[in-house]
Subunit: 240 residues, 2 copies
DNA sequence: CGATGGATTGACAATATTCAAAGACAGTGG
DNA sequence: CCACTGTCTTTGAATATTGTCAATCCATCG
């Protein structure tokens, strides 16, 4: 049984052959530990690697000229992060950890090499990236067309579904390492409004929060409130 | 000189060899005409192709359960559309034309074939997709952290910059085939608020609108207002 | 113990939405 | 040619949602 999160990630999409597994694992040999709240790669920094998350949470962010911040993406164990910057000489978004995390840097040049040696993995990388993009589209919908309470509900349900795919026996409670300020910057709201909205969810008996852990009390109602449709998180391509 | 928009698109990123050009052109042999406001592929329809735009404008959209709509992406000549759905058996977004348009369907299965035969093109496809993703990130920032007037200004500047790359001698006026309702659904605002915001831009002497054509009167001020940073639209990878 | 970062609350202001109504315009059929 | 239709635009008034400012509380950590 492999330890590689990357392999797990890919296998969720399609079965792999042993040669492919070996190749993927070789890309994850050296993992590095980063403490909580560390900038792994700054905005406009040279793009030398992208990363796989072995453990912990991380995010991509953008700081605007006026000092405001937008969280672009939240990454969980098994995710690949920073793929979209590899098309640019300087990164257009920053990467940072949200908890202590173990990341596996993956030199960008070796991706080209991998594409040449194993077209099927190229294909899979392409799929993984397309999935990532689908999540972004969902985020666009969330930011553009939903009220604060729906945004928050949607975010929470998405996270729990995503956590469950590397951790199937997770119940509806999980540690949420995002302060209210970070939640606000993720959902395009103000910190204070997040606080009020979270209270509303509590008052409606939908969630329970204590000590950085959040429990979803009624996932069905949350899902309905958020108009959450899990289709975009489905992983089996079913055709490769 | 090739007619292929796809080739142009790729060449903006990196020089191509003649074999690669030939391969790309073969994928664009059969183009199809679609009239204005046609749904090219519905939401949740089987994903058989993706498309290259030879002429006209198109968009990706999503209809929510309550009937609201969000435009996810606007596509211009030379763009590749529908790439992110190819990871799913059923499309998660719809595709529609905004004007009469000439699209080149590209069977999804042949992408796999292409990856096997020409790893360098695989690489380029990957880059193109990463660019697309970068544009989405910019959209997330726009929706999450900007006021209505900035959103609109940002959108307009982005469009003119993108139009100029296939049409370098375009001045600051162009036909805008989006009704105010569509603009609203693109920027996550209400139709009425778009109207008022557009008026504000007019009153400030930043744009001029008549008969579906819009003219940017002061691109510098617009750019400053929108905090527009063109870095994400830069195309030359510079390292391939 | 004070210092710090996060959470919470209230009062108020800004921003955006909804509803309703009217004007502009192009296309259609008489 | 004109009346009729539908779509798009424009405007006002009232409302809802979200943001800003200021203060307090709470837990944690040195």
């Amino acid at each position: 049984m492999t330890q590689s999160c990357l392999v797990h990630s890919f296998e969720r999409c399609a079965p792999l052959e042993s040669a492919e597994i070996e190749l993927l694992e070789s890309l994850e040999r050296d993992s590095r530990e980063f403490p909580k709240h560390t900038v792994v790669r700054a905005q406009r920094a040279p793009v030398e690697h992208f990363f796989t998350i072995r453990s912990g949470w991380a995010c991509a962010f953008r700081i605007l000229p006026n000092g405001e911040r937008q969280i672009l993406d939240v990454f969980l164990p098994g995710d690949v992060m920073g793929l979209c910057d590899i098309a640019y000489p300087l990164s257009i978004s920053g990467l940072a950890t949200l908890t202590d995390a173990e990341l596996c840097p993956f030199p960008r040049a070796r991706l080209t090499e991998l594409f040449a040696r194993c077209p099927r993995l190229a294909n899979l990388f392409f799929m993984i990236n397309a999935r990532e993009q689908a999540m972004l589209l969902e985020r666009v919908v969330n930011l553009g067309r939903r009220k604060a309470i729906q945004k928050l509900a949607h975010f929470l349900v998405e996270i729990v579904v995503r956590l469950r795919r590397t951790n199937p026996d997770l119940d509806d409670a999980f540690p949420l390492p995002l302060s209210q300020a970070l939640l606000a910057d993720t959902l395009g709201l103000s910190e204070i409004h997040i606080n009020r909205t979270l209270r509303k969810l509590r008052e409606r008996g939908l969630v329970e929060v204590n000590a950085g852990e959040i429990r979803l009390l009624d996932r069905d109602r949350l899902q309905a409130l958020a108009e959450f449709d899990p289709i975009y998180l489905k992983e089996d391509a079913g055709w490769m």
